[in-house]
C-alpha cells in the first residue's frame, strides 16, 4: 500500500516539524550579531571607564605623592612605552614559558593522578580527600620547602605550580569520570562497549566538561603560584614579570610597577576568556546550558 506509506510519512514529517523548536538552525544575521556583541561590550567599557576615573580622582586628590601613586594619565602612556621595549617582551616571554611548562607538567601529573584515583578503589579511599584538601591549600606555603629542595631555581617554581594546579586537574577528571550518567553507561554496555573502547568512546568524552572546569581552576592556581614564585624566587637577575615587579619596587618606580600589574591582569583575563570559550562551546555542542 504505497498510498498509506506516504500518508504515514507525511504524518511523521509533520510531527517532527511541529516538535522542533521554531527558529532552530536559522542563520543569525550580521546586524543581529553586531548588536549582541555591542550589548556584551558596552557595560565592560563603562566599567573600565569608571575604574579609570576613580583611580585618576584618587591620584589627583593628593592622598599620596604622585611618584608613589601615579594616575592612569601616567601609567597608561608608560604601558604603551613598555610594550614597545624588548625587555618587556623578554620578561613576558620567560614568564609565559614557565606558566605553560608548569601547567603542562601539572596536566600530566593531574591526569595520571586522577585516572589512578578514579580507577583504583584503595587509592581513592587513601588519597581522595587529600586531593580535595590540597585544592584548598594556598600553594605559596610550599615555597620555603621548594627552595630548600631545589634552591633558587626554576625547578622550585615548577614544583609549586604542580602542587598548586595538579590537584584541581585531577579533581576535575575524577568527578568527570564519577558523574558519567548511569544511563549512558548502561546504553554503552548494551552496545558492547568494553575495555579501551569504553574509555575512548564513552567515559573520556563524557568526562570532558568537568575536566575542562578542572583545567580552568588548575590554570588559575598555576598562574597565582607562578606570580608568587617569581616574586620570592629571584633567579640570577633573569628577566620575568615577577622580577620586573620587584625591580620596580626597589627603584621606587610606581609607574612600572602598576604597568606590570595591569599586564598581569590582562594576561589573566585573556586566558580566562579562552577557557570560558572552551567551556561554552562544549556546552553548546551538548545542548546543556
Amino acid at each position: 500500500m504505497p498510498g498509506e506509506s506516504s500518508v504515514r510519512d507525511r504524518q511523521l514529517q509533520g510531527l517532527d516539524a511541529l516538535e522542533q523548536k521554531p527558529g532552530e538552525g536559522q542563520r543569525v544575521g550580521l546586524s543581529a550579531r553586531a548588536r549582541t556583541l555591542w550589548a556584551a561590550t558596552w557595560p565592560k567599557l563603562v566599567a573600565v571607564a569608571i575604574v579609570l576615573a576613580a583611580w585618576q580622582a584618587v591620584a589627583w586628590s593628593g592622598w599620596r605623592p604622585v611618584y608613589v601613586f601615579p594616575g592612569p594619565d601616567q601609567v597608561l602612556p608608560r604601558i604603551a612605552q613598555e610594550i614597545t621595549s624588548a625587555g618587556f617582551w623578554e620578561a613576558v616571554g620567560v614568564t609565559m614559558r614557565r606558566a605553560f611548562a608548569g601547567f603542562a607538567l601539572a596536566l600530566v601529573v593531574g591526569v595520571l593522578l586522577g585516572l589512578a584515583v578514579s580507577q583504583v578503589k584503595i587509592l581513592r579511599v587513601a588519597i581522595g580527600s587529600l586531593i580535595t584538601g590540597l585544592q584548598t591549600m594556598p600553594s605559596i606555603v610550599w615555597f620555603p620547602f621548594a627552595m630548600l629542595l631545589y634552591g633558587i631555581s626554576e625547578s622550585a617554581i615548577m614544583f609549586v605550580i604542580i602542587l598548586g594546579a595538579a590537584p584541581s586537574i585531577a579533581g576535575g577528571l575524577i568527578s568527570g569520570i564519577d558523574y558519567v550518567p548511569r544511563q549512558l553507561m548502561r546504553a554503552g554496555h548494551a552496545m558492547g562497549l568494553r575495555g579501551v573502547q569504553r574509555y575512548t568512546l564513552l567515559i573520556v568524552p563524557a568526562a570532558l566538561p568537568m575536566f575542562v572546569t578542572g583545567l580552568k581552576q588548575g590554570w588559575a592556581f598555576a598562574w597565582r603560584s607562578l606570580m608568587a614564585g617569581e616574586l620570592l624566587v629571584i633567579i640570577d637577575q633573569q628577566n620575568s614579570i615577577g622580577w620586573a615587579l620587584s625591580q620596580a619596587r626597589q627603584l621606587n618606580d610606581a609607574e612600572q610597577l602598576l604597568s606590570y600589574v595591569v599586564i598581569v591582569l590582562f594576561i589573566g583575563i585573556v586566558i580566562d576568556v579562552f577557557f570560558s570559550w572552551a567551556d561554552r562551546s562544549i556546552r553548546a555542542r551538548w545542548g546543556v546550558t
Binding site: R8, E19, Q20, R186, A190, G192, R285, G287
Partner: protein, 259 residues
C-alpha cells in the same frame, strides 16, 4: 483471543528461550527475588509484549536476555542471535552527532569507515530521519531521539530487539505514530521483538502475544494471543476489549499486594 496456559511452539527453535529462571539480588535476609521461576519462549520474528505492574522484574528480565546480568538459577538462550536494546531514555551520546551516535555500535563491531557512513544513511532513511546525520541529539524532539536510538540499536546488526518501555516518556500522538513505525520496521527487518511496557493497550496494539507478569516476585501469570489483524489501531474496539480483559487480570494481581 485465546488464553493459553502452556506456551505454544516450545518445540520449534525459539529465538529467545527463557527457561525457569530465577534472579535474586543480594544475600541473606535482605535478599530480593526479582524473578521467580519464569519461562518464556519467543519464536523468531515474533513480537512479544510483556506487561506487569511495578516490581514485576520487567527490566531485570531484559537485562538477563541482553546478557547484561546472569540469572541466579535457570538459563537464557538466544541461540546465537545478536541482541540489541532500547531504553525509555534515548540515551544518545550528547557529544556526538546523530550519525556519530549510530556509528558507535559499528565501531565496536569494527565496521570500516566508508561502510559505516553508508549504513548510517540507510538507517536514517529507515527511521525517516533522512538528512539528520549532522544534527545533535539536543536539537531533536523526544520522539525523533527514540527513532535515532532505534537506528542505533539496529546498527548492532541485531535481529533480536529488546525494548524497555521505549515510548513511556512520549506524548500519545507521537507514541501512536511510533507504534506504526516500529511495526513497519519489525516487518521490514524480520526482527524478533521483546517489548516491555506497563501500558496494556500499547502491548495489545503491538504484540502477537502479551505476557502478563505478577509482581514481587515476577512470574508469568498468563499469556494472551492477540488475534487482531495488522496494522491495528490503538483506539479500535477490538484492542479496547482485549486490553480490558488483561487490565482486569492485572488489577486482581495488583490488589493482591494490598495491606
Amino acid at each position: 483471543m485465546s488464553v493459553t496456559t502452556e506456551s505454544p511452539a516450545r518445540t520449534r527453535a525459539a529465538a529467545i528461550e527463557i527457561d525457569r529462571i530465577t534472579k535474586v539480588f543480594g544475600h541473606g535476609p535482605g535478599a530480593l527475588t526479582a524473578i521467580d521461576g519464569m519461562s518464556v519462549s519467543v519464536r523468531p520474528r515474533e513480537f512479544v509484549a510483556i506487561v506487569g505492574a511495578s516490581g514485576c522484574g520487567k527490566s531485570t528480565l531484559l537485562s538477563l536476555v541482553a546478557g547484561l546480568e546472569e540469572p541466579t538459577v535457570g538459563t537464557v538462550d538466544v541461540g546465537g542471535h545478536r541482541v540489541a536494546m532500547m531504553f525509555q531514555e534515548a540515551s544518545l551520546f550528547p557529544w556526538l552527532t546523530i550519525g556519530g551516535n549510530i556509528e558507535v555500535p559499528m565501531k565496536v563491531n569494527g565496521v570500516p569507515k566508508a561502510e559505516r557512513r553508508r549504513r548510517v544513511a540507510e538507517l536514517l532513511d529507515l527511521v525517516r530521519l533522512t538528512g539528520f546525520a549532522h544534527k545533535r541529539p539536543h536539537q531533536l524532539s523526544g520522539g525523533m531521539r527514540q527513532r535515532v536510538a532505534l537506528a542505533r540499536a539496529l546498527a548492532q546488526d541485531a535481529d533480536v530487539l529488546l525494548m524497555d518501555e521505549p515510548f513511556g516518556a512520549l506524548d500519545a500522538m507521537t507514541r501512536d505514530i511510533l507504534h506504526d513505525e516500529v511495526e513497519r520496521i519489525w516487518r521490514e527487518k524480520s526482527l524478533t521483538i521483546l517489548f516491555v511496557t506497563h501500558n496494556v493497550r500499547e502491548a495489545v496494539r503491538l504484540g502477537d502475544r502479551v505476557i502478563l507478569l505478577s509482581s514481587r516476585p515476577g512470574r508469568v501469570i498468563e499469556e494472551f494471543e492477540v488475534n487482531g489483524r495488522r496494522p491495528r489501531r490503538i483506539d479500535s474496539a477490538e484492542i479496547a476489549s482485549q486490553a480490558a480483559e488483561i487490565t482486569d487480570r492485572l488489577r486482581v494481581e495488583v490488589s493482591r499486594h494490598a495491606g
